[in-house]
Amino acid sequence: MKKANLQFNFPLFLFLILFSLGSSSQAIAGGDSIGQKIRALKDENCLLEAELGLVSKGTSYIILDLRTESDSVPVRINLKNRGIVLREFDAERIRYRRTKGLVIEPIPLIKKMAFFPLKRKEIRPHKPEDGADTISQVDFLELKDIPSNYTLSFGKGLLISIAGQPKGLISRFIHLIRSTLIHIRYSLAIVWDHFWKNDFAIIEIIMGNEDAQALYWSLNEGMSIVIMGGHPYDTI
């Protein structure tokens, strides 16, 4: 009985340790010094310059501001176009790790990667039958068909892993295993990239299932993201 418990609890134990090590607090340091104000204004300046460039193109883009995370205020992923917010997605949990650090500038989305990628359905031509309700019987591609667990590969070595919030015991367990494996994979990648001196940044986001699916649906390859960091600088 004891052995069974030990075997069952080890992955959980490992996950908890990895999770606690990997997590980072995103609180902004308080204080009103001129230095801090200048830092905040410089950050804002970078964001505004990046956004102005994107706004003038007229394409949709994403703003991810990690600084907004606290216990009460979730990190928001804002989908924007021409400076207006088209939709806000709330992240329930975020982990952020990197080898060097990200410049606050537009980074293009290169690829959306999912274990079960989206498959389009093919229409088979058919003659409509009189009085038959054929249209409601057709199998359409809808939000429920969209993956809720996927990875977004951006330029400059940025990976964003999105996971929908699991529902039910089995999916929670699968989610736990998946998160652990992803975490291990990213840790190995960080070590690898450190030795090969590659840039590597990973953001792991857990969000509501439907939000995760809607975000996948809304993102197009080539779309840019601008990420604001979550920690104060050491030096001005």
Binding site: L14, L41, F140, G229, Y233
Partner: protein, 208 residues
């Protein structure tokens, strides 16, 4: 014996993984980087610069009414600034594929995404059926233009936003809220009337 080896191997793997994790944690930086081109360090200078940038962004934002379409949730919003004038359910592109039996052509029924504008306003629109509409129903493609015209299927109004795409009415009201169209946006009659009346040529449409 086998159990012991398996247990020791398991512990060994965990120790290796924890070592990797600790090393990864150690080498991970948590500092964002400011591009070196940002040289200004004077507080007032930065405030002024940011104000100018913010004005630049606002200047490029849509003026007056604009339309936002969320194809994931099948919702349309008529907005003015940050104010939502109207929010209602629509049907958008199915994302399905149709292949011409000859194998020469293929259509993907996605609603286009990005920034568009109202290019035409039509009251009492008639549908000029494209080739795919005939192929989908296993019919011969007509040679006469008149044989393509179908009345009443697009509702009372239509707003054209380019490349043959429209925001229009529908006979299939029970399918509002689902991704069922060939790329156009279908709206219920009353809401369509409001959108039609408040939109002008050039009104911006944002689809995502």
């Amino acid at each position: 014996m086998i159990k012991r080896i398996a247990f020791i191997s398991f512990i060994g793997i965990i120790i290796i993984l924890l070592t990797v994790e600790l090393f990864a944690y150690y080498v991970s930086s948590d500092r964002p980087v400011v591009p070196s081109s940002i040289g200004a360090s004077n507080l007032n200078e930065l405030i002024k610069k940011n104000r100018t940038l913010r004005k630049g962004i606002t200047g490029l934002s849509p003026k007056g009414f604009y339309i936002v379409i969320d194809t994931a949730r099948n919702l349309i919003f008529l907005k003015e600034g940050n104010r939502t004038i109207l929010k209602t359910v629509v049907s958008s592109g199915s994302g399905n594929i149709l292949r011409d039996p000859s194998g020469k052509r293929e259509w993907i029924f996605d609603t286009p995404r990005g920034e568009f504008e109202v290019k035409g306003k039509i009251a009492g629109p008639k549908w000029i059926k494209p080739d795919w509409a005939f192929i989908e129903e296993e019919e011969d493609i007509p040679k006469n233009w008149e044989d393509r015209v179908e009345e009443g299927v697009l509702g009372d109004y239509a707003l054209a936003f380019g490349n043959g795409y429209f925001i229009h009415g529908t006979l299939y009201k029970r399918l509002l809220g689902r991704n069922v169209t060939h790329g156009c946006i279908r709206v219920g009659d009353e809401d369509l009337e409001t959108i039609y009346k408040l939109s002008r040529l050039g009104t911006k449409i944002y689809i995502f």
